[in-house]
């Protein structure tokens, strides 16, 4: 029998039961919830008179709809956001679920605070009513987004009925060049494999370039697995992982820590494990990436050009290109370097961690945001905000003309009042360039924090390597 992949090891240890002809019943170790996709699930529990089976494995915070500049007095908030937050408070109180409230010391984007609190461990199953739950796969967890019906199932039973996914090994070897980051790796993978290319698969990122990355950078990569069509992406844990987890609030300690590490050390794909699909990427060939279209697979290197219809063989790809360029107001064959930007957004569960903010600040330092550009920096959590302030990053950003905001999802999905206007070009460190994603009619250009900071001070898309 061949060996097992990392995914198969984690999957197998969580199958509670497997009836003939039915999906597996998969146990969930940690369930993260937020204000937007949970209300209808709690309503379902109330209707059926069910309790939350494991409130101790359920963690709530508020991030999606909350304002990032109004403060915590919800009487000043838009009514719908206030209602969602009040609903979450009531649901958590009624069902005994711990809530990291915006009023508290600890709050932030659900996929930022989960790891920050040490909730995320290797070998766990983690779900959340949010597609970017794939982020937690950076720790060697099997983590994926679910719909609200499934949120209800996990609340009530701590389990989900799941069909086992197929495995897809993505090996990235080679040295990253100066100014080329984890964000560029994942944008390059998605550009190569397509936005739907990972449907039905769980990615495993491996190779020497992945092993060298910090946890923040690994989270950036796993975060965008869903943009490549895969519900989950995983990276085998190592010393970098353990170093990150150790000492955090929910991390094992004492004797349990040693036992945990011994177990975590077994979580890797065996040498003779067989993947259903494989691809490789040479990190040394990558350059900073920018998207030009309306799905995350429509990205190019900064020295490249937008494809022309003639360069695409597939009629569906050609149609997709034409629709995207029409919306984006860009032309085929055009280079992205030089494209003007109106708004810059540095934040989101993809790129709002300390490493991201430090990189952006290094570019912003001593420079000024270009005229007519609005630039926002939205830290992923209150802890990151505090740490960044302790390091003086807030002052660097403010002096350069960036707005320094409270923690939340903000302009990544523009559910709150952080919206780019119609037709505006947004240099964004977030994960989605869908039509209207960052405000009605907004046009997103996805890139790394380095590239977004460079765009902010230049007023256009530039190759950040020329500024380093």
């Amino acid at each position: 029998m061949p060996g097992k992949t990392l995914f198969e090891k984690v999957w197998d240890t969580h199958v509670v039961s497997q009836d003939e002809g039915a999906p597996a019943v998969l146990y969930i170790d940690a369930h993260l919830i937020h204000e937007v996709t949970s209300p209808q699930a709690f309503a379902e529990l109330r209707e059926r008179g069910l309790p939350v089976r494991r409130p101790d494995k359920t963690f709530a915070t508020m991030d999606h709809a909350i304002p990032t500049r109004i403060g915590v007095d919800i009487s000043l908030w838009p009514a719908d956001a206030a209602t969602q937050v009040e609903t979450l408070r009531k649901n958590c109180a009624d069902f005994g679920v711990p809530l990291y409230d915006i009023k508290d010391e600890i709050q932030g984007i659900v996929h930022v605070i989960g790891p920050e609190l040490g909730i995320t461990h290797p070998g766990m199953t983690i779900v959340c009513g949010d597609s970017h739950t794939s982020t937690h796969g950076a720790f060697g967890a099997l983590a994926f987004g679910i719909g609200t019906s499934e949120v209800g199932h996990v609340l009530a039973s701590q389990c989900l009925m799941q069909k086992k996914g197929k495995t897809f090994a993505i090996t990235v070897d080679g040295e990253l060049g100066k100014g080329v980051t984890a964000k560029d790796i994942i944008l390059a993978i998605i550009a190569k494999n397509g936005a739907g290319g990972g449907a039905g698969y769980v990615f495993e990122y491996r190779g020497s370039a992945i092993r060298k990355l910090s946890m923040a950078n690994r989270m950036t990569i796993c975060n965008m697995s869903i943009e490549g069509g895969a519900r989950a992406g995983m990276i085998a844990p190592d010393e970098i992982t353990y170093e990150y987890i150790k000492g955090r609030t929910f991390a094992p300690s004492g004797e349990r820590w040693d036992k945990a590490v011994a177990y975590w050390n077994t979580l890797y794909s065996d040498d003779d494990a067989v993947f259903d699909r494989e691809m490789t990427l040479d990190a040394s060939t990558l350059e900073p990436m920018v998207t030009y279209g309306t799905n995350p697979g429509q990205g190019i290197g900064i020295s490249g050009h937008i494809p022309t219809a003639a360069e695409l063989e597939d009629p569906a790809e050609r149609r997709s290109l034409a629709a995207a360029l029409d919306y984006m107001g860009l032309t085929e064959g055009q280079k992205m370097a030089g494209q003007h930007v109106d708004v810059v957004f540095i934040g989101s569960c993809t790129n709002s961690r300390m490493e991201d903010l430090r990189e952006a600040a290094a570019i912003a330092k001593g420079r000024k945001v270009a005229d007519n550009v609005q630039a926002l920096v939205v830290p992923g959590s209150k802890a990151i905000k505090a740490q960044a302030e302790a390091e003086g990053l807030d002052r660097i950003f403010s002096e350069a003309g960036f707005e320094w905001r409270g923690a939340g999802c903000s302009m990544c999905l523009a559910m709150n009042d952080d919206k780019a206007g119609a037709g505006k070009y947004v240099a964004s460190t977030s994960n989605r360039n869908f039509q209207g994603r960052q405000g009605p009619g907004s046009r997103s250009l996805l890139m790394s924090p380095l590239m977004a900071a460079a765009a902010a001070v230049s007023g256009r898309v530039v190759d950040v390597r020329e500024m380093m």
Partner: protein, 196 residues
């Protein structure tokens, strides 16, 4: 959950790839705390102009496709956000099935939990259906879940695949909750044996 057995209906052609859930239901409709009213927001960026008036060029607003209960679209339908609101919007508006060459995983799962049947057919077949419907709006399509077939008025029939368990749930209108709650003992046994 509303059971799905058979459906004979006209179809709405949407010749677009990667229709993401942000298009199906934009984020501003996600501020609701119930499922009600999502149909009003269905495809709202495309359905309405900036002035709030219906965009006559958008498929959903064309009178020849009114009342269609099946949507036919390009590859990777339902990509992006996990929002089940996208499925609630489609079903509240009146859709009972979506035919496409492929679906995003989370959307596919969410559909099955709400009685919306996702039918994956080869891309050539989907293109043929789009051509047919665009040429002759009002063409009826018959979907039979029990036999896993899509049938055209001329008798042409195409089979589609679906997981046998999910098919049973759809036919009977069953959701996962009862099944999971009945596994209480197995769940407790699993909880009694942590990995470390």
């Amino acid at each position: 959950m509303q059971p799905f057995t058979q459906l004979t209906t006209t179809a709405l052609p949407m010749r677009r790839e990667n229709v993401d859930t942000d298009q199906i239901i934009p984020a501003r409709y996600l501020t609701a705390v119930t499922k009600v009213g999502m149909g009003d927001g269905l495809f709202s960026w495309w359905r309405y102009g900036r002035d709030g008036k219906p965009n006559p060029d958008f498929e959903l607003n064309k009178p020849e496709y009114a009342g269609s209960q099946v949507l036919i679209a390009g590859r990777n339908f339902g990509s992006g956000s996990s929002r089940e609101h996208a499925v609630w919007a489609l079903t509240e508006y009146g859709f009972r099935a979506v035919i496409a060459p492929g679906f995003a995983d989370i959307f596919y799962n969410n559909s099955l939990k709400n009685g919306l049947l996702p039918v994956a057919l080869p891309e050539e077949t989907v293109n043929m259906l789009l051509d047919l419907i665009e040429e002759e709006p009002g063409t009826t399509i018959a979907i039979d879940l029990e036999n896993q077939t899509v049938t055209l008025p001329d008798g042409q029939q195409m089979g589609f695949a679906i997981d046998s368990f999910r098919k049973m749930c759809l036919l009977d209108g069953l959701d996962d909750m009862g099944y999971l709650l009945a596994k209480g003992d197995a769940i407790a046994a699993h909880e009694a044996e942590p990995a470390y």
